[in-house]
Amino acid sequence: MSTVQAAPKSSQPSNNLGYQTFSIGQFKFQRDEYFAHILYPGNRHIMKVDSFLRALMRDVGWGFFYGTVNFDNVFGTVNHYGTVEMFVGLFNEAYRKTNRHYVETFQSADLRKTFEAMLDDWTNQGFDPYAAPDETGTVFGVKHGSNTKALKRERMVAKRMVGLPGDLGYRTDENGYPVNRQFTDVPQDKPEIHAEPGFEGQVHAFNMLGYVSRSDVTWNPSVVSCVKDSQFCATTEEEALPITHGNDRVEWFIQATDEIIWDVDDGKTGRPRAKVTMKAGDVAAMPADIRHKGYSPKRSILIVWENNDDRLPQMYAKGELPPYPVEF
């Protein structure tokens, strides 16, 4: 294994398909019409470019997220909140056993800059990596145009609750958030608010499911309410989670509508541990030592419940906290 500090390098000249090649540290990224090629000392990993870009979009959009973002069962990143490890085979049992894994550590800002540039250059016009596959065009072929606007969506984070004065605003038709095609039956009515004079803005409620039904992205949680470090991150899910998320803390899922099936594997080895089928009203914990990938046959609403305490990754990593949320 190799672990080094490295800064990003300038993009190489375009290839004959019109795509730039990117490098940072000893990693080099190339794309052709169908595939992303990840080159590292002495070897190469390959992914379908649509899968790669969907995963890359989440990694960039989430700021490397909580814990590990496995693009597939070989390549990914680990967030250390300031630095990021980029790896090949680090959490793959066979790579580890044969000592074929490879890791480099980067400043988060440096890797983010490289990833953002690659995402922008490799995304063609008409392809939106945040959209469900049925809602977007193809990314294959020679370079044709771009879709920068779709890549620049800000992650939406409420400070207390959506709709409060000075907090995150509502999604409406007028501001570009129509109800999604698979949620036309989700009521858009509003709660009745009867505030006495002087208490307007303090007596507050909003249609949370209506708000989420207007999300224009999939598998991209946005914070709708907070109780100190407790965050309700509501999201719409359709088709498959483009990454396999490796937890660095316990998180919880509350299935608000429809159904998601989760494959749960061991975080370090990738060995299967469970399948969790969640239907409307189901609640389940994802332990701190697993990785998970979800499948949502119809667009569904999921509340991902996170504890945003930044001390937790270290505490779980050191074994100071059990990986399971409740002993009973």
């Binding site: 609750m161 009515d189 949370m208 709708v224 109780v227 429809d258 969790v276 009203g281 990986p323």
Partner: protein, 167 residues
């Protein structure tokens, strides 16, 4: 064009999924269903269905009128079934010690200014603001609330009763 039907749950109509174990203990997933929990709960019993260190998600069966509650921090209530009013009072004197965590049950309606109320139904989320006294009222068929809060004196834990324990 395809017609899509969104599936919600309710006290009267819900279907549970579950954990299919391959190489693990189902208890590690604390798998439950809020409608199932509420169907077996007393009115306004605050049953924890999720716990992340000090933070909890509680499920409440909303039936009739609740006691008055308060907390020293914000809480959020999401209506999962039924129609529920939340009435608010700004107490003349603090009813919760500063720094106290979790919901407390007040002995009676506190004296103070009536702030108003919200009427909410499935999918609506209401803020239960820090330091405010609040009461849930349900006038029709029982409903279900999910409350985002901190574990407190009246949080009810009965994990072995509500969670999947067998593979």
């Amino acid at each position: 064009m395809a017609s899509y039907q969104t599936v919600f749950g309710s006290l009267e109509n819900y279907e549970k999924g579950g954990v299919q174990v391959i190489d693990d203990d189902p208890k590690h997933y604390c798998f439950s269903n809020i409608f199932d929990v509420a169907s077996k709960s007393k009115p306004y019993e605050k049953v924890a269905v999720g716990q992340n260190l000090k933070y909890v998600i509680e499920t409440l069966r909303a039936e009739g009128t609740s006691p008055w509650f308060a907390a020293a921090h914000d809480e959020a209530a999401l209506v999962m079934d039924g129609e529920i009013e939340v009435h608010f009072i700004q107490p003349d004197q603090p009813v919760v010690p500063e720094g106290k965590e979790g919901t407390i049950k007040l002995p009676s309606e506190p004296t103070g200014k009536k702030m108003g109320y919200v009427k909410a139904w499935r999918g609506h989320m209401a803020l239960l603001p820090k330091g405010t006294a609040y009461q849930f009222r349900n006038h029709g068929k029982p409903g279900v609330l999910m409350v985002q809060t901190i574990k407190g004196d009246i949080t009810v834990e009965k994990w072995s009763e509500i969670c999947q324990t067998e593979a």
